[in-house]
């Protein structure tokens, strides 16, 4: 059965729409056999991606990432903690991923989305195992005080490939992060030195004058693909994810080393060749994302 002939009048238009709702899988397969997707993308192409740094003025670092309609807002707030005795000269990162009810019709207040804690965990794992951040750089006074970076990512619009967009916004927020200058007061507490005080007397020597930016060594990026029969669809939309349920998420760092790999079940079993194809697609995508990130950062420096 094929798509009804679109002869232009309203009735056939309605039929296409009805066909899409009634037989979504066949509707998609008909497209895939022509090597195109309903939104006119080739199978391996990701959606348009934009990145804006510094979207939240009340945070120390923030970024807004958009992949197609999927929108993520990430912001980092720095707080001071006492480091644990096992690692006295290391700070720490606390990552939380939120899906507020505004982002999707599925999420209701008081009933959090199942996907949110999964993505939260995936993000912490990917960021910590990539070694992007040297936790020693977050130390202030060894054994006494260290930074804890609270990274909160909010999904503002959920339209598929949530992890990819969340990871992009997270790494962008870290590259935008500006650590406040602090000093130690008489009680042994860390206090912020206001920027406008710079010209006048400084009672206390700042603890971290040189360490206002983190050095991000190898930045991880990711690409989610759908496996369906022999097809591989990069960067799926929410509709595609709901119809074809086998997802593979590959995370690579900027030098193409494998950081993470997720295939959370699904009816399609991945063969080695499919996995290799996914990695190859991701390698291409990482180059694009790196360029988008570099462009956003250089755009900030001009301002």
């Amino acid at each position: 059965m094929g798509v009804p002939d679109a002869s232009g009048d309203l009735s056939s238009e309605m039929e296409v729409d009805a066909f899409r709702r009634l037989f979504p899988l066949r509707y998609f397969e008909r497209h895939l056999s022509e090597s195109v997707r309903p939104d006119a993308r080739p199978l391996g192409r990701a959606r348009d991606t934009t990145l804006a740094l510094g979207a939240v003025a009340s945070a120390h670092g923030s970024a807004l990432a958009k992949i197609g309609s999927t929108t993520m807002l990430a912001a980092i707030k720095m707080e001071v903690m006492t480091p644990s005795t096992e690692s006295p000269d290391e700070g720490c990162i606390a990552i939380d991923f939120h899906m507020p009810p505004i982002c999707s019709p599925i999420v209701r207040p008081g009933r959090p989305a199942e996907a949110a804690p999964v993505i939260s965990k995936q993000l912490s794992d990917t960021i910590s195992s990539s070694g992007m951040i040297n936790l020693k750089e977050l130390s202030l006074v060894s054994g006494k005080a260290a930074w804890i970076a609270y990274l909160d990512i909010y999904c503002l619009d959920a339209d598929g490939a949530l992890f990819d967009a969340a990871l992009l916004s997270a790494v962008a927020a870290f590259s935008h992060l500006q650590i406040p200058i602090v000093s130690l007061n008489d009680d042994g507490k860390i206090v912020v030195i206001l920027e406008e005080d710079d010209g006048t007397k400084l009672e206390k020597e700042p603890v971290n004058r040189e360490k206002r930016k983190l050095t991000l060594s190898s930045i991880p990026f990711s690409l989610t693909c759908i496996l369906h029969k022999n097809y591989i669809l990069a960067d799926p939309t929410a509709e595609e994810e709901s119809i074809m349920e086998t997802l593979v998420t590959v995370g690579l760092d900027s030098s193409s080393r494998l950081v993470s790999f997720y295939k959370p079940g699904g009816p399609v079993l991945a063969y080695t060749s499919a996995v290799q194809d996914c990695v190859a697609l991701t390698r291409q995508r990482v180059k694009e994302l790196q360029e988008i990130l570099d462009e956003a950062i250089s755009g900030m420096e001009i301002d």
């Binding site: 945070a59 707030k77 707080e79 001071v80 507020p100 982002c103 503002l156 206090v191 206001l194």
Partner: protein, 255 residues
């Protein structure tokens, strides 16, 4: 600083100067607002509809540093536990991001906003046009910069219009703070912490009907009258901006 009760495990380092000079002392009139506005001058309002694609209708509002997104879902099936109802139901929820407030996670203090939003909108919506079903209005405050509730309410009525929900008129909300002898409109966060009294009006300007009026703090009758006049005038101007935003969106989608 963290001195109340048990010391928390983490804290936000606060500036060395604990008390800033009061932005205003009782007798002084030639004081400037922190953002340089006149006392009766609102922040520039920015609205955009269609911020969230997966929602039936949505709007984004930005007043200075106050940034809000509202999504509207439905009319859709009411929860199973709900009783039968001839008229539609309105369900509202307001939440804050953890980074919305200067101190992390403070936004959840505003628990009453969900119900206030519900009550401000209820009177404007033609609930009988969607019997047995529910319209969900969800708001997320991305950044709190003062006058959050009126911004949320205005933004929500715009999102409802974007979703095609029938309303008698757009609902515009404006707040006024009383600081000593002065009335200041559309206060920012800093001014709200110093205010003696506050007044919020949400109204339907074309019908000249007030849907919600909230007064708190210390007021004299004369001040109150003046503040209400001020608010109503600002509401009608705000509604014009909201209307032009809707018109723009409609003409853009026609092209």
């Amino acid at each position: 600083m963290a001195s109340k009760g048990a010391a928390p495990s983490t804290y936000t380092p606060t500036p060395t100067k604990k008390t800033r000079p009061p932005i205003f002392s009782d007798s002084d009139v030639d004081w400037l607002r922190p953002d340089g506005r006149g006392f009766h001058q609102c922040r520039p309002a920015f609205f955009r509809t269609g911020a969230v694609n997966s929602a039936a209708g949505s709007a984004y509002a930005e007043f200075g540093n106050t940034k809000v997104i509202v999504s509207v879902f439905g009319p859709r099936e009411s929860k199973k536990a709900m009783m039968y109802s001839d008229v539609g139901r309105l369900n509202c929820n307001v939440s804050y991001t953890t980074f919305a407030t200067p101190v992390r996670g403070q936004g959840s203090d505003n628990k009453e906003f969900s119900s206030m939003l519900h009550k401000a909108l209820e009177g404007a919506i033609m609930l009988e046009t969607f019997p047995k079903t529910t319209v969900d209005v969800f708001a997320l405050v991305l950044e709190s910069g003062g006058s959050d509730l009126p911004v949320v309410i205005s933004c929500a009525s715009l999102a409802l219009a974007d979703a095609g929900i029938m309303m008698y008129d757009l609902v515009a909300g404006v707040s006024v703070s009383c600081l000593g002898r002065n009335l200041i409109i559309d206060p920012i966060l800093e001014e709200e912490t110093f205010q003696d009294g506050s007044l919020i009006i949400t109204c339907m300007p074309s019908r000249y009907e007030v849907t919600q009026l909230t007064i708190s703090g210390e007021w004299s009758t004369a001040k109150l009258n003046e503040a209400m006049e001020l608010c109503l005038d600002a509401c009608s101007k705000l509604a014009k901006i909201m209307r032009s935003c809707l018109k723009e969106a409609a003409s853009a989608s026609q092209d």
